[in-house]
Amino acid sequence: MTVFLVILHALVSIALIGAITHQGLSVWRRPSPARVFFDRFRAVPAPGYATPIVVLFVTDFALGAYVYPAYILDVKASLADFGFNTHIFLFQAKEHIAVIGLMLLPAYWHYWKYTTPDKFVMIRRYITTVVMLAVWWNLVIGHLLNNVRGLM
């Protein structure tokens, strides 16, 4: 069951990273014709991504929080035994960076859903970018740790 939940956690992360990257890059884009791939990637209706991103983030966070005790008992203990302290540090950072995203989510929701697009542009850009970076960090570090020592 734990392995299934870890895989589900990873799959939800992949959906989340796609959505938040589209939105995170689109908030910095000025309106202009999208000719190359990178522009077309960013030329998305960003407000429409807000609700799926909140749902995916909360789901992903809940899954991660649920399997976290198994990581503490199984993976972290093994890493400590082998002296992989840098890996433990990176995962511990993941724990706090995930909370940055979680704590910013209510404000993220507010600025995407309850303000007009012409107001609070910089705050919206900032929050979206921070959430995007948090999601990227967590997926990359989670993947790295799973390669070093996955849950059985």
Partner: protein, 112 residues
């Protein structure tokens, strides 16, 4: 929902609460996964296995955030709330600093 609680204020106070809770290591409760037990106090019993403070840090941060968010929404003028919301910039840095203080020993050794 935003009629009853200021969500940006909630985010700022929850982040500040989490950062302080991590910095001073004061969770609302601890969880002992080996024995699947919650405790309001840190039990110095090695047979219980490792204690997890993470859930407790989040929980203790959310309580003042709800209170301040509701009070702010009900009693503060909108322009004040907009000014306070600018403090959202410091959220990641507060948590990153507290996290660094709490976890640096993994990189620097027990003396770090």
């Amino acid at each position: 929902m935003t009629r009853f609680i200021s969500l940006p204020l909630f985010s700022i106070v929850a982040s500040l609460g989490y950062a302080v809770a991590v910095y001073v290591n004061y969770p609302l409760f601890r969880y002992y996964p080996l024995v699947e037990r919650f405790s309001l106090i840190d039990i110095p019993d090695r047979s219980l296995g490792p204690a997890m403070a993470w859930y407790g840090w989040i929980a203790i941060a959310i309580i003042p955030a709800i209170i301040v968010g509701v009070i702010g929404q009900l009693f503060l003028p909108a322009r004040w709330l907009d000014k306070l919301a600018r403090l959202i910039w410091v959220v990641p840095f507060m948590i990153l600093y507290a996290g660094w203080v709490a976890e640096k020993s993994w990189l620097l050794g027990a003396g770090g």
